[in-house]
Symmetry: C2
Subunit: 588 residues, 2 copies
């Protein structure tokens, strides 16, 4: 096989001159480079290895960037970045962090959107196609979406609208027979039927939505892909090109353990073994949650754990899913349905507990409001990575959920400060049958506080006055309680005896406690979320007429990107020293 | 035809004893009563008239309330209410307002949810079915959803999950060939195909999603419906029953003018003519918007108006839609896609302006955040009925959107106070090409203020100091500016000269102006939305360390239901007199 110098690939034009054997060599080189990088750097392993050939074929056939390609969720775009001027970030370890893990217009004109949530590509591309039609232009518009992402409602909405364009609109469905974990949903039987019949079978989901339909049996075969993409290039009506690919292709451990290698930290490329050993002591809140839920589900057959396609985030690996059996429900990547299924389960007398990544639960705001809160359903929702110490790509930020959910009437938003409190709140939430409850797992690894005061009932706001002082009150919510507590220590060392409060509940002010603070000189709130619309502003508003000074600490209303945790914490004045000094300065 | 005494129908058991001819007589009586009530009371005319037979057949065949029926959006449930203990509310004018326009568990055990947003019934019912299966029970679970509602993504998510239940799950698709207006989307060609082939054609959307499928050609024929429902009762797998009904059936004007009679105020049952003549002077913001957009679209071919199935709310009747031509886009009931199509259009160089009912835009929070704001798309979103003076059913409340959208980074949330300002903000929003903008139409009928100060650029927060006084500052946002202005007059009459501010922008504090207020004694904010997470709390937080007292006026965080506008306004202290007196008391 001819040797291709990856460093000479600067734009897709460089590959359009190649013949098939050169393209195959290119794919092989790229896959090798990807494995090299991913095994030391970590990242989305399976999605990218499976898409090497398809991405090469797309850029080979279509005249990017004039032709437009929108990649859904865009975690499969490492090969795309390699072909569009960013090869060095995949071949030179010193430059591995030059690029984000998602398409990003600030990196390249070949990247149309900064995206990390699934299922939106088809609707976005439909908008681009509509713009093209209105302008009378003729370029191809392509949306690339995985089979897993198809279960998200907005994918369906986009397909439904896209079918009405009546013009060039190419939807490539990358079917690797996997979501993050296994697929769940009625449509997957149809995808299987289509694969098993070489695309000829009926019924056909895509044709029923108004699309012409083509099938590529060997979606990792460059020749098949190129021929197919050529056949639909410049097509004058909407078409779905269904390609059958192998997730993790070319890396044996990733082919064999697709769920584990959807996203992975550094690993041994031979064995697949993780290189960073998990410390035997440190446990994250996913782990704490899963263990707790298995106990609760055993104790009470009515308890049901729900995920929208991210069982791993809830700590439910295959073994635990098997253990939970029918009491574990995965609705597929479909946050809206997850919340509504929880509502239906509650209506049916069950005790649903649904867990979400903070950034993804945004999809279901209306269901939280109308189908849960308005209907007073006793259901529990657990927020993971709801923290500045969670995921730090601009597409996955976890500090908007307090502002999003704590302002919904009747929804009790709890912010535990440690594992004991987290578990106690879960305990209570499935024991009671009146309230809709959000429990936001703290950020970072689980911390233990044996002294934390547990309540039997978290239904009404009851702030915990952990330490009683005077003049200054520090209120540290959730993750921030630890830092606020350290700030109290610092002040105590200086001889300033402050009141330290764990508010527990971020959705409702504890007016009795707050009334006591009206005679204070300074109240500082600290929360692990944006200040706007958050907890601290409720306190500031409640104390608005009192002479006490109120300082709200938290994050600015801003999409941070790939930030350093410690730098951002400092920037926000959220270190213990800064919290202490803010309080002291205000006192003067 | 036998005469049926409607007053004797108290529960569905009362109709289960009837024979077919009695049921037909019942349908006829019920339809007559509905027309009588609706023609003097107003309501959802078309959806209810079209469903009389289907609802009778459902309650006739299924053992409600043991068997569970979830009605999507539930505005078609007047016949259901008539059969389940609430007949008087449809036959006795003195009791017309005893019931809400939607299912409501506080009214009846036959009502499972309080629902007014579309597309959620299938996922909710799937949760109920899952609960049944976990309990080992055997009742039927039925979801009833209209063809229009099928375009909402959560309907698809619910269907996708429901197909995996592997047990009794009956989805009745009420196909009346209409959404609120005409349908839009690729699936509607398939529904037409199925109707035209008596359900035999391929492709079949429902079968492709994993459902068995049955078709009822005459969906207003009791015999056909009863036979079909009997045939699927106690079925042991998921099935879709597709029934072909006529919206507005039995009322000629409603059959002929389906869009106008989806919802209607009082009308002449013979001619269909509205009984309340529109005043020639009063114009609502829908009207102002549509006129303005037609001008803007003519001036600039790049301007595109978008709706998610509610063209009437945007003031776009059929004639105006025709006038706008390709520059008007209806994506169907699919708020997420509407926002994403706007994002794609902006990416393609267009100037999209999408309008939403406040309560419905909740569906698209994630798209506003990730696909618009994070991606810095120059797109405009107009909020209608975003006000306490909008729709007042608990399922359609319009006072949560400030808290929802104004806390998204980079999204400029503007609150015009009058038509001139509303138009100026629209003007600017389509002229600029950098910012994502929300313009919230004020509540109530359009008011004019020729003296309002218009800006060339609304991109940065620039509060308008309308009147300059001292000690007290009143900040009245959007709709509330009028009342705050009247409060300023009241205070002036008492010799208290206050500063009056129109903030214009509710998402970003104008720090320069707020800094000037630090030396004041009292600042009162008033907004037409919940206080929690809203505009006033931003002001309270910003002024938290200043000695000035801050009073935030607005609505409590609560789902109000069918409230009186004036009573709620008073309860919230938002009348001019109350605003003035709140300020004065704080001054003392």
């Amino acid at each position: 096989m001819e040797k291709i110098k990856l460093s000479e690939i600067r734009t897709p034009a460089d590959i359009r001159k190649m013949d098939l054997s050169q393209l195959k060599a290119l794919a092989s080189e790229m896959r090798g480079a990807l494995i090299d990088k991913l095994s030391v750097h970590g990242g989305h392993v399976g999605p990218n290895l499976g898409m090497v050939e398809a991405v090469i074929a797309l850029h080979y056939v279509f005249d990017t960037p004039e032709d437009k390609i929108v990649f859904d969720v865009s975690h499969q775009t490492y090969p795309h970045k390699m072909l569009t001027g960013r090869m060095q970030a995949f071949t030179d370890a010193a430059h591995y962090d030059d690029v984000t893990g998602y398409t990003n217009p600030s990196e390249s004109d070949y990247d149309l959107f900064s995206l990390g949530h699934t299922s939106s590509a088809v609707a976005l591309a439909a908008g681009i196609a509509k713009a093209r039609d209105l302008k009378g232009d003729k370029e191809n518009v392509v949306a690339v979406i995985g089979d897993g992402s198809l279960s998200g409602g907005v994918a369906f909405e986009g397909l439904d609208y896209g079918a009405t364009l009546g013009s060039n609109f190419i939807v490539v469905v990358n079917d690797n027979q996997m979501s993050i974990a296994e697929n769940h949903g009625g449509i997957y039987a149809d995808l299987r039927l289509l694969r098993n019949t070489n695309g000829e079978g009926e019924p056909n989901l895509f044709r029923s939505m108004g699309y012409a339909y083509r099938y590529v049996r060997y979606g990792n075969d460059l020749k098949s892909l190129i021929e197919m993409f050529r056949s639909v290039k410049d097509i004058t009506y909407p078409v779905v090109v269904h390609i059958n690919t192998e997730k993790g292709m070319g890396l044996k451990p990733a082919e064999e353990h697709k769920e584990e290698f959807h996203y992975s930290g550094p690993f041994d490329p031979k064995t697949g073994a993780p290189l960073q050993e998990e410390s035997s002591e440190a446990e994250d809140y996913s782990e704490v949650f899963a263990r707790k839920m298995l106990v609760l589900m055993k104790e009470n057959q009515k308890v049901v754990t729900i995920t929208a396609g991210t069982p791993g985030v809830l700590g439910f690996d295959k073994e635990r899913r098997t253990e939970a059996g029918k009491q574990f429900v995965d609705v597929g990547i479909a946050e809206q349905a997850a919340v509504d299924v929880a509502s239906g389960l509650a209506k049916g007398g069950m005790r649903p507990v649904a867990g979400f990544v903070s950034s993804f639960l945004q999809r279901a705001y209306d269901q939280f409001s109308q189908d849960i809160a308005l209907n007073r359903q006793a259901a529990t929702f657990v927020v993971f990575y709801g923290s500045m110490f969670g995921m730090n790509d601009e597409t996955h930020l976890g500090f908007f959920d307090i502002a999003l959910l704590s302002n919904i009437p009747g929804l009790i938003f709890l912010a535990p400060t440690c594992r004991e409190e987290f578990e106690a709140m879960l305990d209570w939430s499935v024991r009671q049958n009146e309230k809709a409850v959000v429990v936001r797992a703290p950020g970072g690894m689980a911390v233990s506080d044996k002294a934390v005061r547990i309540l039997d009932d978290y239904s009404r706001a009851e702030y915990d006055i952990v330490r009683k002082g005077s003049d200054i009150a520090l209120i540290g919510a959730g993750t921030m309680f630890t830092y606020t507590s350290l700030a109290a220590d610092i002040l105590a060392e200086k001889g300033v005896n402050v009141t330290l409060i764990n508010p527990r509940n971020l959705s409702q002010p504890d007016t009795e406690t707050l009334d006591k603070l009206k005679g204070y000189k300074v109240v500082v709130t600290a929360e692990d979320g944006i200040i706007d619309g958050g907890f601290g502003q409720k306190v500031a508003s409640y104390l608005g007429e009192a002479p006490v000074k109120v300082i709200n600490l938290g994050l600015p209303k801003k999409f941070e990107n790939r930030y350093s945790y410690s730098a951002l914490q400092k920037e926000c004045g959220l270190t213990p020293e800064q919290i202490a000094s803010a309080a002291l300065s205000a006192l003067k």
